[in-house]
């Protein structure tokens, strides 16, 4: 309750300051909208279904792109972790590539795929693939060796060993990487969608700019933050809590 009160006070003050600044009319409303204007934009966007459609389109891209990068990242990460040569050579390349903002892949993607869905997916995958790969690699190395031995001892081999032993055993170690991968994918997606008419949330942002509609821009920004927060707070926190319960780890609060 105390926590809730703190949040209530903080956000009331924030909106209050915003309201006063807007009422003072230092800047014209199309540059600095009122809270009311943003609220109206949100309402209108949901009422004419344009926000719903944008959310659906963006989430679909996220699911496809993120799933692709998780699968690819696991294969890559395992490959790197299980091979000394790859670890020493490709391991370094992966870390250095991670410093490249994923939007840098867009020109390349557009040249390869044109202004298509594939180009956006490519950017999403490139945005999160490296974090997932690195997480998988370190997860495999940090995982206690005893689990692999116990699994083999009890008759698990090959794919079964990976699926029933190595993957669950390394999950606590790769979960933070998976989470980071999701966050990176989300950012890459929005930047990618801003480039051309693509129906997603990113494009709604650009549309707001084109129409000089600052209220819509801020409304969509709020939407992007809320969705990102919800996925992190609901999906990943739940998985984390379940893992901690199973493994008997102290909850990290």
């Amino acid at each position: 309750m105390k926590r809730f009160a703190k949040h209530a006070i903080f956000y009331s003050v924030l909106v209050g300051v915003w309201l006063i600044l807007a009422k003072l009319k230092i800047w014209p409303p199309y540059v600095f909208p009122t809270p009311r204007g943003v609220l109206d934009s949100l309402w209108a966007g949901f009422a004419d279904h344009s926000f719903w459609i944008a959310i659906a389109v963006s989430m679909k891209r996220m699911l496809i792109g993120y799933s692709l990068s998780v699968v690819l990242g696991m294969v890559l990460g395992l490959g790197v972790a299980s091979n000394k040569f790859l670890e020493e050579t490709m391991g370094g390349l992966l870390v250095s590539l991670q410093s490249l903002p994923s939007i840098c892949w867009l020109p390349l993607a557009v040249l390869w795929f044109g202004l298509t869905e594939k180009a956006i997916l490519f950017v999403v995958v490139m945005g999160s693939l490296l974090s997932v790969t690195i997480a998988m690699e370190t997860g495999r190395q940090q995982m206690p060796k005893i689990y692999g031995m116990a699994g083999r001892n009890l008759g698990a081999h090959g794919l079964k060993l990976f699926w029933y032993v190595l993957l669950p055993a390394s999950l606590p170690y790769i979960l933070s990487g998976l989470k980071q991968g999701w966050a990176f994918a989300w950012r890459s997606l929005i930047s990618g969608e801003m480039i051309f008419v693509s129906l997603g949330l990113g494009q709604l942002l650009m549309m707001g700019r084109d129409l000089n509609d600052m209220s819509q821009v801020i409304a969509v920004m709020i939407l992007i933050v809320v969705i990102g927060y919800l996925v992190d707070g609901l999906v990943f926190k739940t998985i984390e809590r379940r893992l901690q319960h199973k493994w008997g780890l102290a909850p990290a609060t």
Partner: protein
């Protein structure tokens, strides 16, 4: 069934879980007097486990070769309880890993029923010193794991899991996770998990070293009971000579680096035995005298350098 009666014929009573495909007559596992002929008893004297000239050497960090095990020859009869004692660092745990097939030997052969084995196999299950219970699975799922890997049907797995949990008195903890259990209970889960794969040979690597004395005594009794009920062949590694005498039909003493069999002792004391019984203490004393030499050697190697200065 008293432990005495149970022990009269450990080789002919098989307490394997009777649930298997299409049994002729299904015997309920709860009947303690279950007697089924052990499939793998060799009446023609072929040892259950044979080690033929097992040697292991590996490269140390400074590049020199270290001989860890030197020409180990051992025969273990079906249903025998063999204990291996030796100073720490003599390679006795490594030997269990070799028998389990988790690691290849530099030379020599491991034979089960006179057939050479390579790699892991569920006819030999190792209980690790650290147990290696899977923390993401419940107790029941841990016990079930080996059967699942073998592709045994869900219904049969459930029945067998219940059976082995009952054997180690952990039925009501089936849905707990291993971190919720005490050390002794975890130990019993590991035992049930190993037994559920129905191995002929059980390899145990200092399983009770980290337990308090009361729990350890209790588990000695239980292990002895389960061994006599199931007729398994057990190779049990420990650094505790008394424990070896308490449990073993035979005790093999290892030398310090390279590990060799220094001497074997047949423990011909009546069962059930007690850890503090005078005959156990006396036998242990005799073995301990031989062991002390090896411990001194190991201490010299570790601290001798500083002691000389």
């Amino acid at each position: 069934m008293t432990p005495n009666a149970a022990h009269q014929s450990p080789l002919t009573s098989d307490h394997r879980c009777p649930i298997r495909p299409a049994p002729a007559t299904r015997v309920r596992p709860s009947t303690a007097t279950l007697v089924v002929p052990l499939r793998h008893v060799n009446r023609n004297g072929i040892p259950k486990v044979s080690l033929d000239g097992i040697s292991l050497s590996y490269k140390t960090n400074d590049g020199s070769q270290l001989l860890a095990l030197d020409n180990i020859n051992l025969r273990v009869k079906a249903g025998e309880f063999l204990c291996i004692v030796g100073p720490s660092g003599c390679g006795k745990s490594t030997l269990l890993h070799l028998i389990a097939g988790l690691q290849p030997a530099t030379s020599g052969k491991v034979l089960i029923d006179d057939k050479q084995v390579e790699g892991t196999g569920t006819d030999r299950i190792l209980i690790f010193q650290e147990l290696g219970l899977f923390p993401w699975l419940t107790v029941g799922q841990n016990v079930e794991f080996g059967m699942k890997m073998k592709g045994i049907s869900k219904a049969e797995r459930n029945e067998r899991t219940d059976y082995y949990l009952r054997l180690v008195h952990l039925t009501q903890f089936k849905d707990s996770y291993s971190h919720q259990l005490s050390g002794g209970m975890r130990q019993r889960v590991a035992l049930a998990r190993a037994l559920a794969s129905e191995p002929d040979v059980l390899l145990m690597d200092e399983p009770f070293a980290a337990l308090d004395a009361q729990t350890r005594d209790l588990l000695h009794d239980e292990l002895e009971r389960i061994w006599s009920e199931t007729g398994r062949t057990i190779i049990f590694v420990t650094h505790n000579v008394r424990e070896a005498v308490r449990l073993g039909d035979r005790v093999a003493l290892f030398t310090f680096r390279p590990g060799r069999i220094k001497r074997e002792f047949v423990i011909d004391l009546p069962r059930p035995r007690q850890l503090e019984h005078v005959t156990v203490a006396k036998s242990a004393r005799e073995i301990l005298d031989h062991l002390r030499e090896e411990i001194n050697k190991s201490l010299e190697e570790q601290y001798g350098h500083e002691a000389v200065r």
